[in-house]
């Protein structure tokens, strides 16, 4: 099967430094893929390269068979790539129903938007039961569910989720991962970044481990859960011996700096 999303040797970063140093990644249609890795590995940066918030310096991003590397975020959105950022992104002073409508702001066919809101409400009942309440009055876990529902208003081909469980208590976290499974059952393709590696992998078909800007491991979610190499990537190489005490001449102040 053709992958829906393909990243090839993507190099990207901010300012002078590169965060991603040649990322290769594939996401198969209709699957949930979880990207894990230690702090600062570049997980969120990968998502930004897919949604277009960041342009890669080198490499290519292909979606549904087409090159999208140089497309704007808006163009990618209209192609069906939806990015749910890490921070809460609902409008807190608007009702749940209005937040869902806002999800379809960029869509011309407002009839379709209303139809999709109906469909989303079936997957996420909270959209109906709390429709008239201010989004800001919902708990973090409930808000996350509305955010997931809102992505469906765009009839997305690919949903990008950045740390959907961050800051949530264990019960809400469980709900969010159950919601992600529901998205998959509804035929959606999801690429998520997750700090809680075990919960993320358990909810995913496939997993990839990013470390220092490179994908080091790819496997099914369940295989990665038991792979000791994952722990090594988080906690460093085992049996690392102290490097010898080198002469002061090896030290620099300026060289090698960019």
């Amino acid at each position: 099967m053709q992958p829906l999303l393909t990243l090839r040797e993507v190099v990207a970063g901010y300012g002078a430094g590169d965060i991603l140093k040649g990322v290769d990644l594939e996401v198969a249609p209709g699957t949930v893929t979880c990207l894990i890795g230690p702090n600062g590995a570049g997980k969120s940066t990968v998502l930004k390269c897919v949604s277009g918030l960041l342009r890669p310096r080198i490499g290519s991003v292909r979606f549904a068979g087409a090159e999208i590397t140089s497309l704007s975020p808006r163009a990618r959105l209209l192609k069906g790539i939806v990015h749910v950022p890490q921070d809460r992104s609902l409008f807190p002073a608007m009702t749940v129903a209005d937040n869902l409508l806002m999800g379809g702001y960029a869509v011309k066919d407002q009839k379709a938007v209303r139809r999709r809101i109906e469909e989303a409400s079936e997957v996420f009942p909270i959209c109906k039961t709390r429709a008239g309440e201010h989004a800001g009055s919902l708990s973090g876990g409930e808000q996350k569910q509305v955010e997931l529902a809102r992505t469906l208003v765009l009839d997305p081909g690919l949903i990008l989720l950045d740390e959907p469980s961050i800051g949530l208590d264990p019960k809400s976290r469980h709900q969010v991962f159950a919601s992600i499974r529901r998205l998959a059952e509804a035929g959606r393709t999801v690429l998520l970044v997750e700090q809680n590696a075990r919960s993320g992998l358990a909810a995913s078909d496939f997993g990839a481990v990013l470390e220092s800007g490179v994908v080091r491991l790819v496997d099914t979610g369940s295989n990665l859960l038991t792979d000791p190499e994952v722990a090594r990537l988080y906690l460093g190489a085992s049996g690392a011996s102290p490097t010898s005490h080198r002469p002061a001449a090896a030290m620099t102040f300026g060289e090698g700096e960019r």
């Binding site: 994952v230 002061a248 620099t252």
Partner: protein, 243 residues
């Protein structure tokens, strides 16, 4: 022998968030001790409590056998406990040499506008040499690269001739060549008798340089051991990978 630094049951709340929740640890004299833990486990808050940048709600800190709980950062600096910051804090509008000079801060004469002591001046020259900074001594700190600024900050805390240095993510945002340089400087100062407590996310750096490694999760220490023990400890794996 008692530890150089003893932290006993420190706690700190920010509103309803318990950032540090009864953390205890000991830093042995002349060790390079690491403090690691997942995002949000309270590492930097613990640093701020130890170094007098924050007042603890509970708990005690002892340094060299003396209770230093709540003592302000300036006083601790003069007593030999210094720190660096995650984002290098140097004075951008001062030159490299001036940054070292103002870090001396020992002589009361400076308060009255008098020239610095000869010992301090010699120390500035010596640090410029040792850190290969003599060629850039007259550049403004703002003209240095980020890695160079971190190295300058490290050199500056040495002006106080500290016995204990707390480094907050010394390699964050620093290129590999500079990381090696930073490591060599830490090793040299360690060989000269300085004790280190280091917060760091670069695990390969931690595991080859530090022993013991203290692991913090949700505001309290969950394990202390050698790098090899830490890498295989189930509690540590749970903290990092989730459970």
């Amino acid at each position: 022998m008692t530890a150089l630094l003893e932290v006993d049951g420190l706690a700190k709340n920010f509103g309803s968030v318990r950032a540090v929740d009864g953390a205890s640890l000991a830093v042995a004299r002349n060790s390079i001790t690491a403090l690691i833990g997942p995002n949000g486990s309270g590492k930097t808050t613990l640093f701020n409590l130890i170094t007098g940048y924050l007042q603890p709600d509970q708990g005690r800190v002892r340094f060299g056998g003396r209770d230093i709980t709540g003592v302000d950062a300036g006083r601790l600096y003069r007593r030999g406990l210094s720190r660096t910051f995650q984002q290098a804090r140097v004075f951008p509008q001062l030159t490299v040499q001036e940054n070292l000079t103002v870090a001396a801060g020992f002589s009361w004469r400076q308060l009255f506008g008098q020239r610095m002591s000869r010992a301090d001046r010699e120390r500035v020259g010596q640090l410029l040499d040792e850190f290969r900074m003599a060629p850039v001594a007259d550049l403004f700190a703002s003209e240095l690269s980020y890695g160079q600024r971190k190295l300058l900050e490290f050199a500056a805390v040495l002006m106080s001739e500290p016995t204990l240095i707390l480094l907050d993510e010394p390699t964050a945002g620093v290129n590999p060549v500079m990381i090696e340089t930073m490591e060599q400087h830490i090793r040299e100062r360690h060989a000269a008798g300085i004790t280190f407590l280091i917060v760091e996310h670069d695990m390969n750096f931690v595991m080859r340089l530090c022993n013991p490694v203290v692991v913090l999760d949700r505001g309290r220490e969950i394990f202390t051991g050698s790098p090899a023990d830490v890498q295989t400890n189930p509690l540590v794996l749970d903290a990092y990978l989730g459970s």
